[in-house]
């Protein structure tokens, strides 16, 4: 894409079907679909989750969500039963919904699955297996990832509706989750996705709700919350105004400030034209680390805020207490139960806070976001229209927005005031928590290190992430840059060979790798072998994140700290120790 001139052909290089053609395809796909009935629906006498949520909102009941990520159906079903028994039967705590994490291969059309490597999560092979998900316990299932937005959107929507699942996502995933290249063109992916949204739209009066986790998509990458609000308006426009669906927007992973969570809820509520009940608010995971005690405090902070938010502004979003072990491993059933019991207690106490929260002050902040958001939305629409994008064509819009990306969108159309010195050339109306947190952590860490400035002048280092998680890498990078180190940032999803080539081109003596995807040992071994083969003496490899490895036959990845240390890797997850660690090795 040209940096200077934005052209339609750079964003939407090939023709795509019109809105009418997409809707016609949706109608065709909908012909053989009827919504199934889950145990949950039977128990509560409803025909959709949305109907249940509306009832609960009227009654002032706070709903709860648990995220399940086990890798076999057998284990998942057993976990459902165990959690239901422990929480509802034994303690009288109602869990309203389960989020079921599907394997990424489920996002690939059946006929292409033999070309790809399966992951370690749940795979349904037949309609019967899909249908079973709602027949174990009276808790409503929700499908998030690898559904709408994947390469197999339409087929998965049909199977999920037939299984009685009426709320499903995850639109945001389209923008940031990539399947192996070459399987399907980007045009075919959006056509499939838009058809699925249109199909859900045909069932909207029967309670079909599309879900999008803003923090999974570009939401995580905006620097200004006002622009994120504008982005939320854009997602609503495409799903609701163009394709006739109903959208629930989820957020929370990257919102650390508890009050900001309530303010963003209010902003979200205001732009929710059709009063579609929300799916869930996810827990704040940016404050989670390997320190369980601190995680417990973070848990209480966001659960309390989200519960107060629902008491004040019932939007239907279920509160999601995140097990305190989540940053370390896939949580067990007992760890899920533990945090729901905690949330139950917090709900009792939330009532006392509710009346003393300064709603007026929060409303002022909410207004800023909504007004800024509307400006961003209008600017994006006008900007795209100017270069010839048909803003009434959902496929063109989806392609153009993705091709532009969040950084360019903020630079070109951001609501904040222009300022050359500001990040992305604009002063944020309200910086996102992720930007604020990185800056805050950097400042905190830098304060604790004596004589930091210039302490690593002239030292070259490489930072890289083995997966999509760049948060830790960004903090490490900013602290080391502050110390004067010359950092070469390779970004996310970096392979060992790229690091080896970069060591040669940069003569770096330090390689800092962030990893969360269960490949720490294999990765380190390949990296160290490559370094040895090239005779690159004196290179220190430092690894942080989740230092574990997937092992065949084991449900959870195994910790490999000891093995890595034995191999000569320095294992460290604390950015504040890195400067000393590097100094010692100079």
């Amino acid at each position: 894409m040209s940096d200077q001139i934005l052209l339609k052909k750079d964003l939407v290089p090939n023709d795509v079907p019109s809105l009418e053609e997409i809707l016609a395809a949706s109608r065709k796909e909908a012909q053989d679909v009827t919504i199934g009935t889950t145990l949950f629906m039977k128990k509560y006498g409803v025909t959709s989750e949305a109907e249940y949520k509306k009832k609960m909102m009227k009654q002032g009941k706070i709903m709860h969500h648990a995220h399940i990520g086990w890798n076999s159906w057998e284990e998942t079903a057993k976990g459902f039963e165990y959690i239901y028994d422990e929480l509802t039967n034994k303690r009288g705590i109602i869990l309203d919904r389960f989020g079921v994490a599907l394997d990424w291969v489920m996002g690939v059309p059946q006929e292409m699955r033999d070309k790809v490597m399966k992951g370690g999560s749940l795979i349904f092979e037949t309609p019967e297996e899909w249908a079973a998900v709602g027949q174990v316990v009276p808790i409503q299932p929700h499908f998030g990832d690898h559904m709408i937005g994947s390469l197999n959107s339409t087929e998965n929507v049909k199977l999920a509706l037939k299984a009685g699942v009426t709320t499903m996502g995850n639109i945001a995933q389209y923008y940031t989750y990539e399947y192996p290249g070459g399987l399907m063109s980007k045009e075919d992916r959006v056509i499939n996705m838009a058809t699925a949204i249109g199909l859900m739209g045909l069932f909207r009066d029967q309670g079909a709700v599309i879900h999008s986790n803003l923090d999974d998509g570009f939401g995580a990458m905006f620097h200004d919350l006002a622009n994120l609000t504008g982005w939320a308006i854009m997602e609503r426009y495409i799903v609701e105004e163009l394709l006739g669906g109903r959208l629930s927007l989820m957020y929370g992973n990257l919102f650390s400030d508890p009050i900001l969570r309530i303010i963003f809820l209010m902003a979200n509520d205001e732009i929710n034209t059709y009063h579609t009940p929300g799916s869930m608010i996810y827990g704040n995971t940016i404050d989670y680390s390997n320190d369980y005690d601190r995680n417990y405090a973070a848990l209480c902070s966001f659960v309390l805020a989200d519960t107060c938010g629902q008491m004040l502004f019932p939007t239907g979003h279920a509160v999601t207490p995140i097990p305190i072990t989540e940053a370390i491993r896939i949580p067990s059933a007992d760890e899920i139960i533990q945090v729901h019991v905690t949330a139950n207690m917090l709900e009792e106490k939330a009532k006392h806070y509710q009346a003393f929260l300064d709603i007026e002050k929060m409303t002022v902040e909410k207004e800023k976001l909504v007004i800024g958001g509307r400006i961003f939305f209008e600017r994006v629409m006008n900007g795209l229209d100017d270069i010839g994008i048909d803003t009434k064509n959902p496929c063109e819009l989806l392609l153009a927005l993705k091709a532009l990306g969040p950084a360019k969108l903020e630079e070109l159309y951001g609501a904040g005031k222009k300022d050359e010195k500001a990040m992305r050339g604009r002063v944020p109306i309200k910086p996102t928590d992720i930007v604020w947190t990185i800056e805050n952590r950097r400042t905190q860490i830098c304060k604790t290190i004596d004589n930091l400035e210039h302490s690593l002048d002239g030292v070259n280092g490489i930072v890289a992430a083995t997966d999509v998680h760049e948060f830790g890498k960004e903090i490490v990078k900013s602290v080391l840059t502050e110390a004067g180190m010359n950092i070469f940032d390779l970004g996310a999803n970096v392979g060992p060979q790229e690091i080896i080539d970069t060591i040669i081109e940069t003569d770096s003596k330090f390689v800092l790798v962030s990893t969360f995807n269960g490949i720490a040992l294999t990765y380190a071994s390949e990296l160290l072998n490559g370094i040895a083969q090239q005779h690159l003496d004196g290179v220190t490899v430092i690894m942080g994140g989740l230092l574990n490895e997937n092992v065949a036959g084991q449900t959870l990845p195994v910790n490999v700290d000891d093995k890595l240390t034995e191999m000569g890797v320095v294992c460290s997850s604390n950015a504040d120790q890195l400067v000393d660690l590097i100094k010692q090795r100079l």
């Binding site: 894409m1 052909k9 750079d10 290089p13 090939n14 990424w104 070309k115 790809v116 490597m117 399966k118 992951g119 990539e178 399947y179 192996p180 290249g181 070459g182 399987l183 980007k186 992916r189 091709a403 070259n460 083995t466 997966d467 010359n486 070469f488 940032d489 390779l490 999803n493 970096v494 392979g495 060992p496 060979q497 790229e498 080539d501 970069t502 040669i504 081109e505 940069t506 003569d507 770096s508 995807n517 269960g518 490949i519 990765y523």
Partner: protein, 462 residues
Amino acid sequence: MKYTILIDFGSTFTKSTVVDMEEQRVCYTFRTPSTVGTDASLGLVTCLDQIRQVIGEKALLEARKLASSSAAGGLRMVVVGLTESLSLMAGKNAAYGAGAKIIASFSGIVTDAALEQIRSLDPEIILLCGGYEKGNSKWILENAKRLAHAGGIKAPIVYAGNSQAAEAVHFLLYQNGKTCILADNIIPAVNTLNIASTVEAVRDIFMKRITHMKGFDTVKQYIGPIVMPTPAAVLKGVRLLAEGTPTQPGWEQIMLVDMGGATTDVHSYAATETLDGVRLVGAPEPRAKRTVEGDIGARESVNSLLEAADMRRIRKYSGLADEEIRLCQDKRLEDHAFVPDTEKEKLFEQAIAMEAVRVSVRRHAGQLYDGYTEGVQRIQKGKDLMNIKAIIGTGGPIINSIDPRSILAQALRTKAEKDVLLPEKAAFYLDTSYIFYAAGLLSGIDRETAMRILLDKLIPLT
């Protein structure tokens, strides 16, 4: 000034194209066997004599004249980088973009064997690159030292690596009697490509060499200095056709395959974005890219072409037995000007052209590989040409073919080739009048007319 005369001093022909600027069309073309090897001005005089007869003496004198030259087969160049995927790849792209022919390339610390090879190849220019800015100086200085101390290496050295080492590299080479030209770092930072100043430095040397060839003093008196090397003019023509002009839309993403006796050149113009779900690894690719396959040609390089080709395909396409193939091969090696004259020869010519296109575009295009992380992310190395909309063929074996469509169809990826970043379908065109050099030269003074003559002269294959 009614006419512009565009001349190319190629290695096989001296070509001329006369453009009527008022009517925005080519009104005359003429070509004569090249005299670049003996006296370039002889071929030029033959062309001008012919043109005089068509447009008259007065118009000939008044006409603007622009010329390119391939300097008898292109500048022979060696590229030295630090890593295959980063500095060497960027260096190769810069060399090809400048119109050079790469005769050898090396990465890492240059070995004694590599120095010996460079010495025996006797290149006309060496490109030394490597190191991001503030990156590796140590290896760069080591390579510079080895080249500086190597006896028998006379070629000027263009240095386009880490600027921190530039002064020392320059001094080392100068001290040892070597010419060093400094250019900007071609890979200044991660994911950044900056080949412009290297391309310019290489072209400067290219142009100086052309100027010193026999007959070019006389040529200069007739038509002024040579404007640019032929490969640069062709690449400029490709860029024009892709980008278009304010009044004539471009063809967006295109490919030109030029098959000759010694080499096959592939030019492409395509956006450098990566595919969804794919991480681009290696130096970024230029939007306008040229590669030269020095082992793929229909005459001098027929042996190496057959080595690179799939012989089952050659047998299938030509219907010839191995012994007959060998005879055809020998005939081409003995006589580089050979024109296929029998049915068998024509079938063989068709088969080698098909394989030449298949092999050379696959070397030019990028490819996908399995990624490292959990099978989700895949790796892209090289350029994505999947959105190429038109493939244009030129060069003797293609334009004289009985079935050029089948030759160009080899540039498409087959259903089985899921990982090759070539298009599944495209429109095919022939350039029988070698219009790209002319359009490239003309685009410097009149893009609209240059675009029009391109559109007029390209022949669609339906």
